[in-house]
Symmetry: C2
Subunit: 152 residues, 2 copies
DNA sequence: GCATAATTGATACTCGGTTGCAACTAGCAT
DNA sequence: ATGCTAGTTGCAACCGAGTATCAATTATGC
């Protein structure tokens, strides 16, 4: 599931610094991993990739940096329907929100943007007077290939 | 957040038995707690309530019964934006799907049904050829009261 | 009733994530 | 450049949700 890489590198770092967040060697490393990721990574995958750049990085620092990014709304946290246990996955928050479909058979993750999705969020803000900060829509089922072959 | 209680009691039990699932004293107790719950419960709250009826029930049995109900599509699992740690919450699967809004300030959970939501799911089934089994849409933000008082 | 396959409860364990704290350091002021 | 200090790091110990194992128990079909 290659994510569209419309981000220039260093964007996360610049964004955090502009908000007065202190930039450490470890954070720079972790941010670069998040930015260059080609798929959704969980904390332990992130740690492994970060350690290939800086072997001294501790897992606690990864968790703390992810929390920081979440707090600043720069990454979104995904559960991907708990397809792989209780891990959480992370992705750079995109320009336009999308939803995730998880195939319960082959484990593939698909993304989907939709006007209806955007309109639904608009409706909620209006009708419920709810100020939306984060959205997470995940769907579990069978992808086109797996449904063709019949349920496992 | 009182859930609409349009269910007659014993419905879950009947549903499971009709599918050939063995009905034990413990299961009956847990099912009755799920059915009469007035809000979203997590596993440990469920255990506590079940133990008020049958003090011998073990937490493992609660977990196993929840897994059973999920497998049969009779309850939905919610994360409620991880507002309260990594717990999962459960609710009887409703006639018509709804989404959940979690107020990140006061912790209130709101539910919302919408034609746009239904249409969005239809669009996904059609355009992505994805066979939907479970849907989970959760929104984090500020409810009308909390946004009026300004962010915490 | 009986047989038997499924279920239960106890215990130990896994795993994702957090806390407390002493050592370190980014970033500012001088 | 140097020093100061609040913010950050790494370590180790911890927490809590959920799972595996297995002997003892029990629901259900005959």
């Amino acid at each position: 599931m290659p994510l569209p890489q419309t981000e220039q590198p260093g964007r996360l770092q610049a964004e955090l610094m502009s908000r007065g967040v202190r930039m450490t060697r470890q954070r720079r490393t972790i941010l670069s991993v998040v930015e260059t990721a080609q798929q959704h990574l969980d904390a332990s995958q992130l740690l492994r990739k970060a350690r290939r750049i800086d072997p001294e990085i501790d897992r606690v620092t990864v968790y703390r940096t992810l929390k920081l990014l979440k707090r600043h709304g720069l990454v979104d946290e995904l559960d991907l329907m708990h397809l792989q246990g209780e891990k959480h996955f992370y992705e750079r928050r995109p320009q336009r929100d999308h939803l995730h479909m998880a195939c319960l058979r082959c484990g593939k993750i698909l993304e989907f943007e939709s006007n209806l999705f955007d309109r639904l969020k608009g409706q909620i803000q209006r009708e419920c007077q709810f100020h939306i900060l984060v959205t997470r829509m995940e769907i579990g089922g069978y992808c086109s290939q797996c449904r063709a072959t019949g349920p496992a």
